[in-house]
Symmetry: C3
Subunit: 148 residues, 3 copies
């Protein structure tokens, strides 16, 4: 442990982000989140990000080589294949149940630390919205900052 | 981003929920969580839910069609089969190690946003306790609300 | 629900932990986290732990029988094998992409409840840093306590 600091904690900020996805794939949202933190004026604390959907995910992963996301997509597609005849839930098509499985195996919500007025992400960490449905969707995120 | 709001943050509420599970399966706890938020009087903030066990999970998933949970159970049972001879840890039976694997692949704790005095879950989002052991268990959750 | 308590919330504490890993495997950090909570003086609230890397994980799992971690390692190694020819991302060797997959299937950040000045972990819950790379790495955690 290299540093401990205690101070009064008196602010919260909330916001909503709406994102239009073009279908299955990744959209980086690190920039939007950093901007929200900047606007809040909070220097130290946490930023909570919540996705109000069960067929997409929030993801923290490597932000430099697009092949990482390509491999993640290939991996999860093989693990929970579209159109698997084993699924009972297929109301909305072959990508319906796989989207729920992908959501459960990854994250619907994440909390990120704020330090010096910015998200303290590692150099290689990006935050992504991972759309699991093949068709375009409108996705809504609820953001909450708590800090000082 | 459509809305940003800053205000003083001065309240926390805590609670404990004990749940008796009848064995492997899902129990929705969204109602209990909403009631706790209501009682706390907090209008804006977050509600943290923590499961004090390593052989059950907390889950956010689709709340309308029970086939989604049936497919999730089938999927994870196939991924981490009971009684797999590869497991070294089998003290408490064939469902012992699979329960720990299921716990690690899903969640032990979740944070949910509070807006307008209620959890801001999406329309199709339900919060579930997912029991992974085949026999009945007593499960304990620690709830913490931070907000104003 | 057995207990609800509301009080003013005025403190935050932050810290950074640096951990040297000897390569793939598990290191328990529950003791370090408990010590940070003790030093903060916070009695009720939450402790957020954030890993600034995408090729290692934070893990809550059974802390008594080392065979549980051995089985977890075997399970995930079989699910995302090193050197799989399907991976496009292999800049840093055969364990590079599997490390990112393992990170995505588990957790990069966790929030833990504080009660009575200690983390309210279950009896059998330990918190671990799970190194996914085969060679030694330096890992950094950002800790944030919010409570009173």
């Amino acid at each position: 442990m290299v540093e401990t600091k205690t101070e009064s904690l008196v602010n919260s900020s909330i916001s909503t982000i709406e994102i239009s996805t073009p279908g299955r794939g990744f959209q980086e949202i690190s920039g939007e989140l950093q901007e929200f933190v900047r606007q809040s004026g909070v220097k130290i604390g946490v930023c909570h990000v919540f996705l109000r959907h069960t067929s997409a995910s929030l993801l923290i992963t490597e932000n430099a080589d697009p092949d990482v996301r390509r491999d993640l997509e290939n991996f999860i597609s093989a693990l929970a294949p579209d159109g698997d005849p084993a699924y009972f839930h297929r109301m909305e098509g072959p990508d319906d149940m796989p989207a729920h499985i992908r959501s459960v195996l990854t994250c619907s919500e994440i909390t990120l630390p704020i330090r010096g007025g910015r998200l303290a992400l590692g150099t290689w960490q990006g935050v992504y919205l991972w759309e699991h449905r093949t068709r375009p969707h409108q996705r809504r995120l609820e953001l909450t900052i708590i800090g000082s």
